[in-house]
Symmetry: C2
Subunit: 455 residues, 2 copies
């Protein structure tokens, strides 16, 4: 039996799947600072029209343009792999599969939406994109996509990651992008944070403020902003992962029981899970688990409400689980999971009972990642290690119950550029950062002053 | 037409190809310090018996054990990819294909032989392997292979790379290996070099001495040495690359005209080229090009003679092109190409006219790598950039001649853990290190005092 299932180029999915079409409730609209729903038109300075259209689309299927497919075919379809050696090490009757998104040139799933976003911007005559990045995966993906299409690219990188990972900066520069640490002195948002907290490690919320400001303040009108997660169109673009996985599982005749992915802003989780969530919404017996760090437990301990996506309140308010936009998580090594909010579609899926979130401590995740590397070979990203740890928990549960469960997870990225955390774990200096009760209460109390969600 | 050609797991080659069977002359034997051929038995303290058997085997085809295949299937077969976007950027009528060995868990072709060597050692009851590494690709590959089989692993890493690439050390440690900078104070060979040159950047020749000494001096007899290049059995294990590529080209109906790979010790070059060299030896019209750095031009400016593989003279003398065992190349960023010698089989292939070596300056190579990354997406290793630069030269030549050549190269590794050189190139501090005439003359004069080869 094959260990790796490849699709041919010609079998790449030609439409994205939109979960909004299958949710029990119509998604809530984003709100402006006045608490009223914002019009799609008001976002035209930030995003190209086609992406705004996708953001609010109720359509179940949306065609992938040929130009986007051509970009994606540089690395897609990605392989589905059976983790047979991990199964053996665990002695579990479960069959474990992973979708290997680490084979992309940027090393993660992020190019799935970066390429699409860059392409739509290019079509509309945009010449430059601004963005933020946490661990650097998204920044590299957008830099790559801009290079392939001849666009300029500017990346605000969360300072703690910028300092831990100089190679990420070089990679973005190799793709022709500009990369600077956030908070920076280039934006009013950055300067405001630096004035109050000169030693801040930064956060995705801060970096988003800076990138949005840099985009909309360009008087030429040729600059737009690109976001690597959270928004509906980003989730949409990522669904190609799960759509491919469905084809690959069908080739094997496998019926999946458990789906697992880590969740920071939600994009790699949504990418794998949404196409399966449609089946669950229709009654399929399926457990779908977004995994987050205990130090930033948005889905498990946050509130579902309206909140801003960034720290400065430059974005619309989104209906989502949040820990509060000025919550700055401890500097855990899974930089991509350090976000106060969560994709509205993922959040609503939790509310509607489609997804069952789980929060894990980082030492358990690194331990799981080491076992994975010493059995399967691949060294996964610190973010992905959260998925691996949850997989191991479920596989051990299957062993106790003596059940042949089929577990599928998203190997969202490799960790070859993120070895700082492994180093800390191996030398014993890594500790678990669980959110403090007082910190949580303070964050949520602030949140409660925002307009409540209308579910 | 497909861009990526995948073989199924079941199509993985089941035999390695041995070029020795198709050379015009029988390969010369290794010599001991007395100038006499050494007996295979004298190597039993260094290598397991099966690998020594392969080292001297005249057989054309050698079976790959099932246990090795199971290890290799973690990432093999690797894809053959058409570099269509690079072709378009060059406006060349040439069709450019690459074998993508960067998809291995260690990021390069090195696990092809690391897994085989670790497996044969394990079969013979060996418990610990010692080795050296330059850029870190080989050390990571052996650490990975040892982890998968439960062997201990100790890696002496050339100091300049050790300092430039802390992430490589962490990766080896994640796989459970010990990694230390060479020259070290742990061996007599290391201490001798440090006494004379305390600030030496190190070299592969020095690190090999240390690793061999550490292996043979273990009184328990449970430690062996593993080499990542140069030796015949290493070339043998790598031929799975070219054997797969042949199947993949046949699926496309393509007939290849030019084969290109970088050459340090020769293993990724041999891996791709040897199965095609058999056709060339039988009269096929085919250009096969090993590419080396101008700063370490072993094949283009060295002598074919007998020389030691390491600096201390602990290895047998091998019949090969060499710049002299105490030649320490400038610290160019392609650490894997900083070796004074060359695989005896590759060397003899050059002598017999099968291969046409080319030496390139590193700035041309980094420029080529940037063009590749901005068209195809993948950021290649600094070593691999030499192959890319040669490919671009040949593709431009095809354009001038208006000929539809088919060019195949080995994408031996990605550069995501080797971005130091890219950083230097991008900030303008990278210069070309051509070997000085005086330095070369001095190195070759020393060499001439060694016993001459008998061709």
């Amino acid at each position: 039996m094959e260990t790796k299932i490849h699709l041919r180029d010609g079998d790449i999915p030609r439409q994205w799947y939109n979960l909004a079409a299958d949710l029990a409730h119509e998604p809530l609209p984003p709100l402006g600072p006045d608490g009223c729903p914002i019009s799609p038109e008001s976002l035209l300075k930030v995003f190209p029209a086609k992406l705004i259209e996708q953001e609010v689309s109720p359509e179940r299927w949306i065609d992938i343009p040929e130009g986007v497919l051509e970009l994606l075919l540089r690395f897609r379809p990605t392989p589905l792999v059976r983790a047979r050696h991990l199964e053996q090490a665990l002695g579990t009757p479960a069959r474990i599969y992973y979708k290997n998104e680490s084979v992309s040139p940027a090393g993660s799933h992020k190019p799935n939406t970066a390429m699409a976003q860059a392409w739509y911007n290019k079509q509309q005559g945009v010449e430059r994109l601004c963005t933020e990045t946490g661990a650097g995966q998204w920044g590299c993906a957008l830099a790559l996509s801009c290079a392939l299409l001849g666009l300029e690219c500017k990346v605000f990188m969360v300072r703690v990651s910028f300092e831990q990972k100089p190679a990420r900066k070089t990679m973005m520069q190799a793709y022709g992008a500009t990369c600077l640490p956030s908070p920076s002195t280039e934006t009013a948002a950055g300067r405001a944070v630096l004035a109050e907290h000169p030693d801040t490690p930064g956060s995705l919320g801060i970096a988003i403020s800076e990138a949005v400001e840099a985009a909309v303040s360009d008087a030429s009108g040729r600059t737009r902003y690109a976001l690597g997660s959270v928004l509906n169109h980003v989730m949409l673009h990522q669904t190609i992962i799960g759509l491919e996985a469905k084809k690959q599982l069908a080739m094997l005749g496998e019926k999946v029981d458990v789906i697992i992915a880590c969740a920071g802003g939600g994009s790699n989780f949504a990418g794998l899970a949404f196409p399966f969530a449609a089946d669950k919404a229709s009654g399929a017996d399926l457990e779908i688990i977004p995994v987050e760090p205990l130090s930033c437990p948005t889905l498990t301990r946050g509130l579902f409400t309206y909140d801003y996506g960034d720290i400065a309140g430059l974005t619309p308010m989104l209906p989502m689980y949040s820990l509060g936009r000025d919550f700055v998580p401890d500097p855990i090594h899974a930089g991509g999971l350090r976000y106060h909010g969560m994709s509205p579609l993922v959040s609503q899926g939790v509310i509607e009972g489609l997804f069952s979130p789980l929060a894990l401590p980082q030492t358990e995740c690194f331990r799981a990642a080491l076992l994975f590397s010493r059995t399967e070979g691949l060294l996964v990203a610190p973010e992905t290690s959260h998925a691996v740890a949850a997989v191991i928990r479920k596989a051990e549960q299957a062993k106790q119950e003596g059940r042949e469960k089929v577990i599928l997870f998203n190997l969202s990225g490799h960790g070859m550029m993120d070895l700082h955390g492994y180093d800390a774990f191996l030398n014993g200096s890594l500790v678990d950062h669980e959110i403090g009760e007082e910190q949580l209460a303070a964050a949520l109390a602030k949140l409660a002053t925002h307009p409540p969600a209308r579910f």
